[in-house]
Symmetry: C2
Subunit: 591 residues, 2 copies
């Protein structure tokens, strides 16, 4: 029924044509990553995702079970992981020094997109390993790397990220897990962590937990948090005092084991410097945030695929302009404008979001591999600015797109067998974990934009400005004229908010989510305008693939006319001030 098909043509369009992957990979010294080589990898990744992971999507919703302290994952999940490891996928973007294949991060992104769209809950297991890998690679000692990083790279073990505790999620300053010195230089870790994705499972014997905890006498709050590596098994294979106390009963992503982990005198190893754990954790989190942004694209893509098939097949009513299929009992619902509005919205989010994320992953490549310090700085700034937008805006829009999937199926969208409601349940977590939409919005407006006096915003508006200037004439002006106006407005509105905030700090919080959504719509408009430009150029040059490029331009037009105008509401709301939301005392919200 719901059968994921990797959108290879679109992935290639974005990577190779829009973002000029060959030039990019050459520039960062990854000349091996030729277009042919990337395409060969994509083809293999597509096969694995379509044939192995997609068939486990709906059955995986049956969930994980905790039996006698052991987590049993859904049927087929473990075997799929074994195939994934055998094929060498975990090592694709890791350093050759530690057994990896040394390809740029963006190539891992393509693979992770396909795997995760086919089966998000499954994809989280390697996804979490990926974050743990990055952290150990960045902060681990040589010994830690050889003991923990290398098996993560082969996929022999998986990793986790243990932050949240029952009383604290967004505010990690409140965390209580303790790390006490032991005689041998290791630490004894004690405490309880909750919501640990991929926290325990039957894929591998060992699991490498990256854990936030407090050293004795550490300062209170976020300045007293250190990072530890805590393996599930000790070096001799015996248990290390990390047990799965329970699995959470969740709305979705049932195939992923969300564990309560109890650390009871577990042996841990300090990762990085004392009391600098939170800073280090951000390495992990920035990777995880872009990974979560992908969940928005994945939800939009998968629900789009399911919806499109259904919309072509399901018969109901006649087109308002007369029967389109008079020989059938009714027209397929794809003739109806409102069904198309929802399909086009899904498509605009999936394809536009893909461009946004690939763009970010190319920045990640540049930061990691470029030898040009200015280029690295510029990429780092852009990435810092775009990460909260990609994470929060794309996951909000992915949820909306997935809800359109239910809506297109009508009553059947509410029924489990079709998979549409599962996509909504699965993707509902995306606006919560790795920092809620509200946290991302504060990061964007407060930390990134306001704290740099708008410099961070300018880094990106300059990119847009240059693009609009270079494309001010001809057919593309349909898009660049609108975009250029919004780009200026973005700066002006930001200034207006800064003035308000200088009078009242609460204005930042009050405006933040509308500002984030506003910024997201403009950012996506830039990518749609650029895709329209690329498509117009291809058509002008002559191509065998005209339908593809024409569809791109049509979708860009839909986005500009039927989605982008939402900026008007966000702008008005964020500049209308915070007073109306601060007016009530807590006890006067209800009577």
């Amino acid at each position: 029924m719901l059968a994921y098909k990797a959108p290879l043509r679109d992935m290639q369009f974005v990577a190779h044509e829009l973002l000029k992957s060959e030039a990019h990979y050459e520039k960062i010294g990854a000349e091996d990553a030729s277009r042919d080589m990337v395409d060969a990898i994509l083809t293999e990744g597509a096969k694995f995702s379509e044939q192995v992971l997609a068939p486990l999507y709906i059955s995986g919703d049956d969930g994980c079970e905790l039996v006698d302290g052991k987590v049993i994952t859904p049927a087929g999940f473990k075997e799929a992981y074994a195939q994934y490891v055998d094929a060498g996928w975990p090592s694709i973007a890791s350093s050759v020094e530690h057994g990896g294949q040394g390809l740029p991060e963006s190539i891992a992104t393509y693979i992770s997109e396909m795997a995760s769209t086919a089966n998000w809950a499954w994809g989280m297991y390697p996804g979490l390993s990926h974050g743990a890998k990055h952290t150990i690679e960045a902060f681990g000692t040589d010994e830690q790397k050889s003991r923990f990083l290398e098996p993560l790279i082969t996929g022999e073990v998986t990793g986790t990220m243990c932050l949240t505790e029952p009383h604290c999620g967004s505010d990690l300053g409140l965390l209580k897990t303790r790390a006490d010195n032991k005689a041998d230089g290791a630490f004894s870790i004690n405490g309880t962590k909750i919501f640990i994705s991929a926290g325990d499972h039957d894929f591998t014997d060992n699991i490498i937990h990256v854990v936030l905890a407090r050293l004795p006498g550490a300062p209170e709050g976020t300045k007293g948090i250190s990072l530890f590596i805590v393996p599930k098994l000790k070096a001799d294979g015996s248990s290390n005092g990390v047990t799965c106390g329970a699995l959470e009963h969740k709305m979705g992503i049932h195939g992923n084991s969300t564990a309560v982990l109890n650390f009871d005198d577990a042996e841990g190893y300090l990762l990085g410097a004392e009391n600098e754990g939170l800073k280090a954790m951000f390495t992990f989190m920035n990777v995880a945030r872009l990974g979560t942004a992908m969940q928005g694209v994945a939800a939009a893509e998968l629900s789009f695929q399911g919806s499109l098939e259904y919309a072509k097949d399901r018969l109901a009513m006649r087109s308002l302009t007369g029967p389109k299929f008079p020989e059938k009992a009714a027209d397929p619902i794809i003739v109806h404008p409102d069904v198309r509005r929802m399909l086009m919205t899904q498509k605009a989010v999936a394809e536009g979001g893909r461009a946004m994320i690939y763009y970010c992953s190319f920045l990640v490549d540049t930061v990691a591999h470029s030898k040009d310090a200015d280029e690295v700085n510029h990429a780092t700034e852009l990435l810092g600015f775009l990460t909260p937008i990609a994470k929060a805006f794309l996951t909000e829009m992915g949820l909306e797109a997935a809800n359109h999937g239910i809506q297109i199926y009508g009553g059947h969208g509410f029924i489990k067998e079709w998979g549409m409601e599962q996509i909504v349940r699965d993707t509902r977590i995306a606006t919560l974990y790795e920092g809620t939409t509200g946290i991302q919005a504060l990061d964007l407006l407060g930390r990134k934009v306001m704290m740099t006096q708008g410099e961070s915003l300018k880094t990106f508006t300059k990119v847009i400005h240059k693009f609009c200037e270079a494309n001010a004439e001809g057919d593309i002006a349909e898009f660049t004229s609108v975009l250029s106006g919004l780009n200026k407005e973005w700066g002006a509105v930001t200034m207006e908010l800064a003035m308000k905030a200088s009078q009242n700090r609460e204005e930042v919080g009050g405006a933040s989510v509308d500002y984030l959504m506003y910024s997201g719509f403009i950012t996506l408009a830039y990518f749609w305008a650029d895709m329209a430009r690329e498509s117009m150029e291809k058509l002008a040059a002559g191509t065998d693939d005209a339908d593809f490029y024409k569809a791109k331009i049509a979708t860009a037009r839909f986005y500009f006319q039927r989605m982008l105008p939402r900026v008007a509401g966000h702008k008005a709301m964020m500049t209308n001030g915070v007073e109306s939301m601060m007016a009530l005392d807590a006890e006067h919200f209800a009577f």
Copy 2:
């Protein structure tokens, strides 16, 4: 944890103060319904909802089971229904002639609001009976009324509404269930119905199904559909060939049995005229649509209550303007503007939606009981116009409010035990059943507004115009100046769409959902402005309840500043034309 508390003060404010219930009930000849009497009923209804139904909310999510052809409802549901019947609730608004208490429909609405907010899945069982009752009351013969209506009124049986078939939902013209004449004047019903809410259960022995089917030789499409009463049990208590083939596996409302019903030579009785079943069914559906509108209010109210409690309790971070509770490890999250934005949104939807629905239910009273033909006509027109808005806009906003509930709880919102994700799953059906948002939008813009050359819209904009004129001066002008501008714009935009539609019929479909949301925001603005007016008047006159009225005005202000500006986006999108969504051929949506 999640413990529903009936918002009696607000219900009384809307019914008695805003809508002047006493004058209304007197006018329609229901002088018995004094304020004291209504309040006594509310108090009893609140007790039942809070003490009997609310505790079964989360446990009811375990769902119904089909065992050996019998449906077993969640623990406690059956007993709660017995208490409900014993208390006489089913008969409250039914005619005295058939054993009812003869109170106006609006009073049943208050009760149904409380029951349904406490436990939507449970509330659907009596809710469906209610619709069946209305239909038999309107179209049944005396004999049918005494045999089927009277036990529905006592609650001795429940009712259903059997429309949907596997291949048709929105487009009932495609339905296939057959009704063949039998020798005794009855009919033999054969076919399969799906998605039958409360379709089978263990509350009562008998169930009265109201079924759409085709007579032999009936015209094709919607003109050949007739309505039948098909009891689960024959008069002698034996089975009547209606069996539950399966229960659907759904996203939510697990406590309600959504049945596949097989009719196999079931004995049915023609209800109303031959081939006029669909027209008759609209009696049922208009009642059901207002009932479903309530689901939006219920979702907003329940998630608001849960969110408010959590927001006062959960500690995270400090207020941007410095610690508000320095003695605590962090401030409760209700200090944060963005949390307040979400709480205020929930509150504005719940309270504003309540006003909209009570207003509609007073119109229902007037249509049913007024002796003044002009008044009946006016109320009928208003109701026809407002029903699709209330149904679609309030359920869309209820879903949004419920999603804010998850968001306020952060990661805990995704976990079942807190109930927040259940509200989202339960209310997700509301934009689908009884006509999807798309169907309501076509009903509003196509059938109601365009087909009356805008007269239907004018019926309501005149109400708003009169209100704004009468309240153009003083503090209330803060609201009426904005509302009056939008009210004019509403007419102008409608005219613009009519011009476009005269060139291209597709424009109606392309604009419809944005038009509906636009209309919904303005409609809700009217109710918020009117509530602000009432509150200002109460404050000016002097009151012991100043905090309540001040909170109303603050919420109205929040609505006008932080929600209503969304009309700008909807207006731009609906007037930007349908071309961009019609541009692609079906085969060019994906490559």
